[in-house]
């Protein structure tokens, strides 16, 4: 077992995890919302990309754009349905509604796409690169690059633009934001549309690494949950480092201890970290 190879795997996996979780991080940071249908939205993003590419013959970029648009629309519709719960900040009901929504998506995807696994191939995932005894694909490189760019852009938007300032105002105090003339409902709808688009982007980039199944949503939401909590609920930089840490941990634990117990071990670490640092690695923007 090669140490450098595991390090590389961990870094790729870490960026994949960070990308997977970023939608939920913003959702939690700005709107104090949760979305337990997140994993199924990831699954749908993967299948839309696969269908557009393999069945409709669309090029990877166009298929990805289609998946991201679909994610955005689904996120928007979901929030439209839940808006009253959101305004009341009724988190328990929102949790159940989003969980239910996820399973509806999974059922619908099963009907449309069938229950057999598929391989999502892209022009990048087909090219293997050997470098010394290291092996990776262009897809892996693309994941790292896209994740870094996306996080940097998002951090910039939140901290230095008008849209970001409005998001931070709503995060801190939605009632006071109304008195500043901010259309808070529209911010909530926008944040959910962003969450849908972001998780679809993650699927477009990451799903080609492994076979895709309509039942894969649950694992994805668990990883997201771990990254978001570890990163310090709503912190963008925190999520990035939490994703990276979890990716490295998973790679090394899987390679040197036992791949079958990786998730269990990751959660053991999560519990230990939270017992020591209840707010994760970083504090949230506008956290109370």
């Amino acid at each position: 077992m090669n140490l450098a190879q595991q390090l590389l795997n961990g870094i790729v996996l870490g960026h994949a995890y960070a990308l997977l979780a970023i939608g939920w991080t913003v959702l939690l940071g700005v709107a104090r919302l949760v979305n337990f249908g997140h994993g199924q939205m990831y699954m749908l993003g993967a299948f839309v990309t696969w269908y557009a590419g393999a069945r409709l013959g669309m090029p990877y970029l166009a298929a990805g754009a289609m998946a991201i648009t679909a994610g955005m629309v689904i996120g928007y519709i979901m929030q439209r349905i839940m808006l009253r719960l959101t305004l009341k900040q009724d988190l328990v009901t929102i949790m159940i509604v989003t969980l239910g929504f996820g399973y509806v998506l999974q059922g619908a995807a099963g009907l449309v796409f069938g229950s057999t696994g598929q391989i999502l191939e892209t022009p990048l995932s087909r090219i293997d690169i050997y470098w010394g005894d290291l092996w990776f694909t262009w897809q892996d490189i693309a994941i790292i690059v896209v994740a870094m760019l996306f996080f940097a852009a998002l951090k910039y938007v939140i901290e230095h633009t008008g849209v970001g300032r409005i998001a931070r105002m709503v995060a801190e105090d939605p009632a006071l934001a109304l008195l500043s003339g901010i259309n808070v409902k529209r911010v909530y709808l926008g944040v959910f549309a962003f969450e849908g688009a972001a998780v679809a982007l993650a699927a477009v980039m990451v799903a080609p690494r492994t076979p895709i199944l309509t039942s894969m949503g649950f694992d994805e939401v668990i990883i997201t949950f771990a990254v978001v909590v570890l990163g310090g609920i709503g912190s963008i930089a925190g999520s990035y480092f939490a994703g990276l840490a979890l990716g490295l941990f998973t790679a090394f634990f899987g390679a040197f201890v036992a791949p079958a117990y990786t998730t269990a071990a990751a959660f053991a670490v999560l519990i230990a970290v939270l017992a020591i640092r209840p707010r994760g690695f970083a504090a949230a923007p506008g956290s109370r």
């Binding site: 008008g162 300032r165 995060a171 009632a175 006071l176 109304l178 500043s180 003339g181 259309n183 923007p285």
Partner: protein
């Protein structure tokens, strides 16, 4: 029903506020004209905050509000809070009135999309002229400000949105006496510049010095109303709030 007072900027008719079955406010009529400063006084729990909040359809609680509110003659009762704000009805609420996790300057950057026809949107430079202290503190977070600075920032944030009517909910609470008169003098200045101002105050002694008219509320009802000079001699005001017996 149409507004009755000719040049009223803000006018309310048959306004009621109910919290879970308990009526906190019932006011048949209230109007504030252009350039007028009206004070609303009354004991704790009288319904002063319920009144100003209801004018915007806003609350941190969940009250039921009925009645009609006009802004410059337009019925705004059905409009959501943020639209009323964009039309020029600004409230500086009681308690938390600035964003604590963003800088003073960010608090002052406007949100755009304001219907500003015929209204004056204060520029950042004008704000800093009016409140030099805020300029010194512009890189600090809202949460780092003192009580007086927060009131200034609250008023400044409202001015940036080009108010035609300004509602202030107890701006003097917790301030040192010298600051109270500074804040109230600023409020007077804004009314003189043409704003319609509704000022909720517990500090009747200080308020009566600057307002044009005073409205006394008890248990959700208007019990006395009139020009400041006349109200100063009203026994209900003099005894209960100015700590002196009417001559």
């Amino acid at each position: 029903m149409n507004p009755t007072m000719e040049n009223a900027i803000i006018e309310a008719r048959d306004l009621t506020v109910t919290y879970g079955g308990n009526q906190a406010l019932a006011i048949p009529h209230l109007a504030v004209g252009r350039g007028e400063l009206v004070g609303v006084v009354g004991a704790n729990g009288a319904g002063k905050s319920s009144l100003v909040n209801a004018l915007l359809g806003w609350s941190r609680g969940a009250p039921r509000v009925t009645g009609t509110v006009y802004l410059a003659g337009e019925d705004i009762s059905r409009l959501p809070t943020f639209v009323r704000v964009r039309k020029g009805l600004l409230l500086i609420p009681e308690g938390k009135l600035v964003f604590g996790t963003i800088s003073v300057e960010d608090n002052l950057l406007s949100v755009g999309a304001i219907e500003a026809k015929g209204r004056h949107l204060y520029s950042i430079a004008e704000i800093y002229d009016l409140f030099p202290r805020l300029k010194e503190r512009r890189h600090h977070l809202g949460a780092e400000l003192s009580g007086g600075e927060r009131q200034m920032l609250g008023i400044a944030r409202a001015l940036r949105l080009g108010p035609s009517a300004l509602l202030l909910d107890e701006p003097s609470i917790g301030l040192a006496p010298r600051l109270v008169s500074t804040v109230l003098a600023t409020v007077r200045q804004l009314a003189d510049a043409g704003l319609a101002v509704l000022l909720v105050e517990q500090n009747v002694r200080a308020a009566i010095e600057v307002v044009d008219r005073l409205v006394l509320i008890e248990r959700g009802r208007i019990v006395a109303e009139g020009p400041a000079a006349a109200m100063r001699d009203d026994p209900r005001i003099a005894e209960a709030y100015l700590g002196a017996h009417a001559a």
